[in-house]
């Protein structure tokens, strides 16, 4: 997995969906009724939740690191023009070429043209949420360029003709048996087939992916990535990952194209000391992720000879214009807020209808894309306002505050900035948005346990120091009714592996 930069797309699920996406409540209801999905999600989110709390508790100065992270990001955002120009200078001085893309179409056109100029018709990609947001793979495909996703989870998603459902673990909704089936039936049509006797052991599945992807890495001439951080002072880009596919994409090809949101800047080299401590612990609950790559422009004889950086706006400056909502741009995409969210745990990532699922998606998507569509208008309601997301957020984004702000915006209308220009939003009354909002409210009301626990926690959690987590998570799981064990095939798997414990080995 690649931490925080990413996520590839299924064919229909990027940016503005071409097919109308159902509003959150409908999509969530479908997910809640899917026992396999719920089982997978519950297992995954609970596992990572406890591990994260332990990793965070190791650092006595977590609160100070969190505060420094918040302030660094806020300072950067308040001077974003200055730092963008500084970054451009330092990347250029180091041998990189900087491009600016105001929206998704422009970014896609820039990347497609750069790939075509190399004469190549395929690229290897390391998971990047920004490229998923803009629908880059589909745009390249339309130009006859094939983009291969190389994260294991992204591969699962791409082969399964599916959509990612989690920032960090996009295939969190798939269990091992499903993954084996996807590999067995689909790998052959994309390249090296999976072995005939492939089982559902994770190590075997990983080996199949290793062999399948290696042939693509070794011949790749163009790599496409995102980045977790860009250092304005030095022009350094940072990619944080686990599998090594990021290193493959960043070092083996002759040309590297990185598409990065303008909010990913930090001012100085030293700022990395904060985020390299908070990001791995918040996301994968590790002291440090297996691989982190840092590069500054190009280096003679080591890595790509040509480096392009595409700086992406695509709604970020509109978000920046909102005094309350702009804090969402501090996000470092760790996904901790997803893993503690009771709504996400039940509804799953797909219900959010966006590349950004969970609590962060509920505040980011409606700002990046506006609240004109039914799904975007309903997203601010995809929360019980319990505050667990705020408590775990390593840059202290007050997600409940932004949610309430955006709800007001949907219901009452008001001024906003879209594509750089001021617009006045009409109140939602009589609009699709209002109906969506009402349905969202009904969803909460038909799950009274959720609402009650959420409300009770709302008053309590704010006092908790982040290190005391997973207090809210535990309280939630203690108070809600556990659903009965679902029928096949989840129960089969569950019994065979002693509740997932044996299956780990």
């Amino acid at each position: 997995m690649t931490i925080g930069t990413g996520g590839n797309a299924g064919p229909t699920f990027v940016g503005m969906p071409a097919v109308p996406t159902p509003a959150f409540p409908e999509a969530a209801r479908t997910a809640v009724a899917d026992p396999v999905l719920r089982g997978n999600l519950r297992h995954a989110t609970h596992t990572i939740r406890a591990k994260r709390a332990a990793a965070v508790a190791e650092l006595a100065d977590w609160a100070e690191l969190r505060e420094a992270g918040r302030l660094i990001k806020d300072h950067t955002l308040r001077h974003l023009d200055t730092y963008l120009v500084r970054l451009e200078e330092s990347v250029t001085a180091a041998g990189g070429i900087v491009h600016w893309a105001a929206d998704a179409d422009e970014a896609n056109r820039i990347v497609a043209d750069l790939v075509k100029a190399t004469g190549e018709s395929e690229v290897v990609k390391v998971k990047s949420m920004a490229t998923q947001e803009i629908g880059l793979n589909e745009a390249l495909e339309a130009e006859g360029i094939h983009a291969y996703e190389t994260d294991l989870a992204e591969l699962i998603v791409q082969l399964g003709d599916d959509r990612p459902s989690h920032i960090l673990v996009p295939a969190i909704h798939r269990n091992r048996g499903e993954i084996r089936d996807i590999f067995r039936t689909r790998m052959a049509s994309w390249g090296r087939p999976a072995p005939e006797d492939l089982t559902d052991r994770p190590a075997e599945l990983a080996e199949a992916a290793r062999l399948h992807l290696r042939e693509k890495f070794l011949r790749a001439k163009v790599g496409v990535s995102g980045a977790n951080f860009m250092v304005a002072e030095t022009g350094t880009l940072v990619v944080v990952e686990s599998e090594g596919n990021g290193r493959m994409c960043l070092t083996l090809p002759e040309t590297l194209i990185s598409v990065v949101g303008i909010e990913k800047i930090v001012p100085t080299w030293r700022d990395l000391e904060v985020f390299l401590q908070t990001l791995p612990r918040s996301s994968t609950a590790e002291r440090m992720n297996p691989y982190t790559s840092m590069w500054t422009g190009t280096t003679d004889g080591d890595g790509p000879r040509v480096f392009h950086l595409v700086l992406l706006d695509n709604g970020r400056t509109d978000t920046l214009a909102d005094r309350v909502g702009r804090q969402a741009l501090r996000c470092i995409r760790c996904s901790a807020c997803l893993n503690v969210c009771p709504v996400y745990e039940r509804a799953g990532g797909h219900a959010y209808g966006s590349v950004y699922p969970g609590p962060i998606g509920a505040i980011l998507s409606p700002q990046l894309r506006g609240t004109a569509s039914e799904i975007d208008a309903s997203l601010p309601y995809a929360s019980s306002l319990c505050g667990a997301c705020y408590d775990v957020c390593p840059v202290a984004i007050d997600i409940p505050e932004v949610l309430v702000h955006l709800r007001e915006r949907v219901v009452q209308g008001g001024e906003a900035v879209r594509a750089g220009g001021k617009v006045v939003l009409r109140p939602a009354k009589g609009h699709a948005a209002e109906r969506a909002a009402m349905r969202a409210a009904r969803l909460a009301l038909t799950h009274p346990g959720a609402l009650r626990a959420g409300q009770r926690l709302a008053s309590r959690t704010r006092r908790f120091h982040p290190r005391t987590l997973p207090g809210p998570g535990r309280a939630w799981t203690a108070t809600r009714d556990l659903p009965p064990l679902p029928p096949e095939p989840f129960r089969d798997w569950w019994q065979r592996t002693n509740g997932g414990k044996d299956g780990a080995r």
Binding site: R78, H99, L152, T299, A321
Partner: protein, 220 residues
């Protein structure tokens, strides 16, 4: 960049308009050093150099790197043994590796040349490097492309990586201390345990694309 106003100017203009309220605030222009007080620790805990090395060893092992300790005199025989045990017939060597380290092994030495393709590297069994710095609190090795480490790709494609860390001098306690020692101008690779994934039901599985076996020799 297109149209009468190019996108660079358009984006920078949007940023400036978006921040109009910030610009009007009194004190909105705090200098960077004052805007970000750094109350966090430079390192966690108070350790002797020997204890820091012990912590490095423990954290490396916790993320399933294989850790060995030896003296300068014993290094050649240890390296010979590790290569033998891994069944390696060939070894990638960066240009500036100390030749004496390989005095007791007869594996085929493969030099990384500018014209070496990824396919060439894929045929080599193991790679041996030094490192730039190691971080005890996180169990991390950092390579900076120095002469005893070589290009980034050589520690990526082969399936077995042996990394020699000079202790205690190359070991720092924490991430902040490591960044102090590193130069951003060099391509850096931070390695914490072997390649891994948790993408299948969040179970950690070693070995997806990077070396599946990471051996660390603490030399001192």
């Amino acid at each position: 960049m297109s149209g009468p106003v190019n996108s660079r100017d358009r984006i920078l203009g949007r940023v400036r308009r978006a921040l109009a309220d910030v610009r009007e605030e009194p004190g909105g222009e705090l200098p960077y050093a004052d805007a970000v007080p750094r109350a966090y620790l430079r390192e966690h805990g108070d350790r002797t150099p020997a204890e820091t090395v012990d912590l490095l060893a423990a954290n490396l092992a916790d993320y399933r790197a294989r850790v060995h300790r030896c003296t300068e005199d014993d290094l050649p025989s240890l390296l010979a043994r590790l290569l033998r045990e891994h069944g390696s017939a060939s070894l990638l060597v960066p240009p500036g590796l100390e030749p004496g380290w390989l005095a007791e092994t007869d594996v085929e030495r493969v030099e990384d040349r500018a014209e070496s393709t990824p396919y060439d590297l894929d045929r080599v069994d193991s790679v041996l490097t030094g490192c730039a710095v190691a971080v005890a609190e996180t169990g991390t090795l950092v390579l900076d492309g120095g002469p005893d480490q070589g290009r980034r790709r050589i520690t990526l494609v082969p399936d077995h990586h042996i990394c020699v860390v000079r202790v205690p001098e190359q070991v720092v306690s924490s991430v902040p201390r490591a960044l102090d020692r590193l130069s951003p101008g060099r391509p850096l690779t931070w390695i914490s345990g072997p390649s891994a994934t948790s993408d299948i039901e969040l179970d950690r599985v070693e070995g997806v694309h990077g070396p599946r076996t990471l051996e660390v020799v603490l030399l001192g």
